[in-house]
Structures are given as C-alpha cells and as structure tokens.
Symmetry: C2
Subunit: 161 residues, 2 copies
C-alpha cells in the first residue's frame, strides 16, 4: 500500500481536474452540453444500441441516460427506433445531423486541447490516457468485488422490496 500522501494528492488532483473540464465544455457548440457530446461520441463509436447499453457505457443511472437521449432526440441528433426483438426497448442511432454536430464538437474540443497541450510530447498524453483508463478499471473492479454485483451492473435504481 502506497503512502497516505500519494492518495491525498490524487484526491486533490481529481477534484482540480474539474477546472479543465469546465473550460473545455465552453468550447462546445450551443445547445450541446458535454453529456450530449459524449452520447453522440458513444453512438458513433459503438453504433446502434439500446438505452441500457448506453447507460452502462455512460456509467450513470438509466433515468439520467433517458434525459440525455431525450435532449439529443429533441434537437434531431439521434433517432429512437423500435426494437423488433423487444417492444419495451428502443434502439438508439446517431443520424446525419448528429454526425455533423459531433464533427464540429470534436473539432473544437480537439483544437482547444491542441492549443493547451502544444508543448506536450505524444508520449506523455498517451501515458496520461493509459493511467486514467487504468484508474477507472481499478475502480470498477473493486466496486464489483465489494458489492457482489449480480452480473447486471448498477445502471438503475434497485427495485423496491
């Protein structure tokens, strides 16, 4: 186990990362909050999927996912199609307008990062990505170990007894 001070420092760094995130969020197009951009990015990267799958990728409750999806659909960025396999379910798909917005959001976001990190060697950015990914995995792993999750992950409020 590492020293206390290393953990304390990590706690501080993680809270301070909000500064960067807020700054980056301001570069996004009008009407496109960060979460919308992420929804579009996930649908673009992984293709058509159900609400439950998207909630799992976002790692938030499905009620939250539902709102984000409704926002994106209301602005015409995604389509909610009926699922032939299960009529309770809906298939989400990014459409042409959504692709367009995503491209714009992605370009601005990338440009902002490129400006700020112009003096960073590729290797350092890569290492930061790797460590952040590993941090997330370590967390999810330990959460599932300690909570004995029943195969299905925690993307919805547990049903009442």
């Amino acid at each position: 186990m590492a020293e206390h001070s290393l953990y304390a420092e990590l706690a501080r760094q993680m809270s301070a990362i909000g500064i960067v995130k807020r700054d980056l969020a301001r570069t996004l197009p009008q009407d496109c909050p960060p979460t919308s951009a992420i929804v579009l990015m996930l649908l673009d990267r992984y293709g058509e999927m159900r609400m439950s799958k998207l909630a799992e990728l976002l790692a938030v409750d499905m009620s939250v996912t539902s709102r984000h999806v409704a926002h994106a659909e209301a602005r015409g960025w995604i389509d909610r199609l009926p699922d032939p396999q299960d009529r309770r379910s809906r298939l989400l798909r990014i459409n042409a307008l959504g692709e367009e917005l995503l491209a714009q959001a992605s370009a601005r976001y990338t440009e902002a990062l490129a400006t700020c990190l112009s003096d960073w060697p590729d290797e350092d950015i890569h290492r930061l990505n790797e460590l952040l990914a590993r941090l997330r995995v370590s967390f999810c792993d330990s959460r599932s170990r300690s909570c004995h999750l029943p195969a299905q992950s925690k993307t919805r409020t547990p049903a009442h007894e």
Copy 2:
C-alpha cells in the same frame, strides 16, 4: 502537435473520470459534500485566508465559494473572522471541529483509494498525480495567454458596463 486520436481519447478519459469521483464522494461523511472537504483541506493546508484567495484556489466564481463557505460555517467547521486590514473582507479559518471532520473524511477517502489501488505501484500513482497537475498548469497557462487576464484571475463575474 499530437494526433487527433490522442486528444479524442483524452476527452473520453476525462469525462469518464466522473465515475471514479462520484464513487469516492459516497465515502465522505454525512453532510459533507466533496466541495466542503476540499474547502477544509485547502484551509488546513494553506492556513487562514480571504474569500478571494480561496476562490482562486478552488478556481470557481466567488459567489460559488461564498455558498460553500456558508455551508461549512453553518455546520461549525470553519470560522469567519473580521479582517483588521479591510472591513469588507473576512478571514476564513478551519477550527477544531473542522479539523476533526477533515481527518475523518481524509481517512475514509484514503482508505477507499487504497482498497482500489492496492495493486498499483507507488510510482504509477505518483506519475498520474504529476501528469494531472501538469494538465492543469498547461490549461491555466494557455487560458491566461489567450484571455490577457489583467493580473487578477477570473474568480468573479466581470463588472457590468
């Protein structure tokens, strides 16, 4: 300039880090939201300071800082003392009850991190801390360059014309 994909990946990692932060926040004591813990931590680390200084360290608007400080004072964790130098200003100081709460919050937070990162070598945690700190610095630097800040940082709504 690095490849587009490196920046896109960083964007994704930064948004996904919220999962970890939300999980860690749940380990904090009752009535102590993450921001309160950070306020206490900053007052403990840097000692007595004014609102404006705290707002700068938190990197949020002073109106936001004001609310957090009011929350912490209402619960008896900090004191707001008159500033003999300037009667408009107030000096903030963590008190004994606040120190106690901070110790508890810090212990729980550290324990949660230790559990999840038990298999991480110290060196990796250190490197992650270093990269996150550098990311923040790169951002603040480029922000001050591009905005031509007038010596005073942006911790308050600009005055109206």
